[in-house]
């Protein structure tokens, strides 16, 4: 393990990473958010889900640097006296949680189907790829919106809808990589020593097609967070009792015209910063793993 870590720090990837300010900034942002959602709830001034802990006397407080702001509520409060910063920490937790779960699920499902379709070919392959083609011709947002409209809001349904939308990208990428790999000699060799198809697929093909997967998965975390935020904004995403960052923006927008600009501006800024960090990292990885750019 230690040796592997040492190898990593001496690797070209790490060397290039340090010389790419965008990638470093991206990683810092992502780590900041990870730390925040993991330990943040221990430090936030309030538990925003605990209705009993709210005091209407605290409602409509502006951020602390403005007139009437208080140190206890650094970014101000909403119309129920909920501390915005606490709500944003909990909201980031929900947004990132959904992002990671959806990416994990769609990556596993899409990769499995792509591997099987690409390796075996035939009827299954053409059926699956037709499905992928049809789905990709419809915007992901609209498909997810339709599923949520039909089944109603909720975490499980949201994860389901976003996974349905997400797996196709992996399936298509994996399949085309498999088509290239399976013609190579090491696969013939693996078959020749008598391995059955599934060990060949998972032990030999899969490790060799991982790089594009890493890039897609990284960028997709950002995409999923944005789509989730949009659905929640439209009122078909997370339940109102557990607001994600997107729903916080929506709640803030409802009171924008009574002057509470902060409660929609700051949560949106969080989404942008988080997705920006993820995209910076994803861009770096894509350039690193693209042999044509070297």
């Amino acid at each position: 393990m230690k040796n592997r870590l040492g190898n990593f720090f001496r690797s070209e990837l790490f060397h290039n990473f340090l010389r790419n300010p965008g990638a470093v900034i991206g990683l810092v942002i992502v780590i900041f958010f990870l730390v925040m959602v993991l330990i943040g709830p221990f430090f936030t001034p309030q538990n925003p889900y605990d209705i009993g802990g709210l005091d209407l006397m605290d409602a409509y407080k502006p951020p602390m640097w403005m007139d009437g702001g208080e140190r206890a509520f650094p970014l101000g409060t909403d119309e129920q006296g909920r501390d915005l910063l606490s709500a944003m920490v909990y909201g980031s937790r929900i947004s990132m949680g959904i992002g990671l779960i959806v990416v994990l699920l769609s990556c596993v499902i899409g990769t499995f189907l792509g591997l099987v379709a690409g390796y075996f070919g035939g009827r299954l392959d053409s059926l699956l790829m037709r499905l992928v083609d049809v789905q990709l011709s419809f915007p992901a947002m609209l498909v997810a919106l339709f599923i949520m409209a039909a089944f109603g809001r909720g975490f499980g349904k949201l994860v389901f809808a976003l996974t349905i939308v997400g797996w196709v990208l992996y399936a298509r990428t994996v399949r085309s990589s498999v088509l290239v790999e399976k013609k190579k000699e090491y696969i013939d060799a693996a078959k020749l020593i008598g391995l059955s198809p599934f060990p060949v697929i998972f032990r030999h093909v899969l490790p060799n097609i991982l790089t594009p997967l890493i890039v897609i998965a990284t960028i997709q975390v950002g995409t999923v967070i944005l789509t989730e935020a949009t659905l929640s904004y439209l009122g078909v995403g997370v339940p109102v009792t557990k607001p994600s960052l997107g729903l916080l923006v929506k709640n803030g927008y409802d009171v924008l015209f009574s002057g509470l600009w902060w409660s929609s501006v700051f949560p949106g800024m969080f989404i942008m910063l988080l997705v920006f960090g993820i995209n910076l990292l994803g861009d770096f990885l894509r350039d690193e793993f693209n042999p044509r750019l070297k």
Binding site: L145, T230, G252, S264, F276
Partner: protein, 321 residues
Amino acid sequence: MLKYLIKRIFQMIAVLFAVSLIVFFVMSFTGDPVLMIVPPTATDAQIAEARVALGLDQPLWVQYRVFLGNLLRGDLGVSYIFKRPALTLIVERMPATLELVFFSILISLAVALPCGVFAGAWPNNPLSRIIMGGSLLGISLPSFWLGILFIFYFAVEKGLLPSSGRGETATLFGIPFAFLTRDGFRHIILPAVTLAMGTLAMLIRLIRAQIMEVMRQDFIKFARAKGVSWKNLLFRHALKNALVPVVTVFGIQIGTLIAFATVTETIFAWPGMGKLLVDSINTSDRPIIVAYLMIVAAMFVFINFMVDIVYTLIDPRIDLR
């Protein structure tokens, strides 16, 4: 070519048929439509009577056959809320959405073409780095939030531009359009820019990557050696060859713009079909949701078809099977 066209048209019909199946069966899980139609005071007997009258006591596949038959006749049901045909309601709102999408496309192209070509031709120029950083920020920001910032700054704080509605419209070919009047044009600016942002940022990145790819090729070196001016080199030689993937993505982007118009229209209270969809989702107005999906699906299938045709026009090397 003719054989290809016929094959594609059959594919389009198959896809739309599949969409109608999926939409119908998924929507049939969404609760009992009878309860949406009968008055709240209806007795159980009346509800049962209404169910039989509407054919909702039949098995699902019989209902689907009726639905499909009506669909082919252009009858997509009557809205529960508006008490008018769903198809008419959507068609009425379509010009507003298309107008918005059209302006967003204009804005994205006007900004993305020069920015993308510049960043691709001179990737190490500081200005290119700013363009690329900006475009990454552009794909990272939620469009609804950008709309809110615009409303807050331009409408609430500065009072420069209106933040909701479509303003005055003028009629062209019997269709009302907002951009023809001064007031309507002022109304379209903020929503169009908001909607354009994502596409714009994405196109910049795509055009840049394509130009970088093309600039490495021999015919560019040859053109430069021949003494072709930079302007001609970039916009006639390089851009033309970089356009094929851009056209594909652009086709998909039109679909994405129509989808995201739902969000933009909701923020700016733009009376298009996207806002109608979101409102109908919130009021469980099933006929409108179904009608919207069928119409938009038909539009996407048609756009994809057109994209494939346009391919052959801009790149004769592509062979249609």
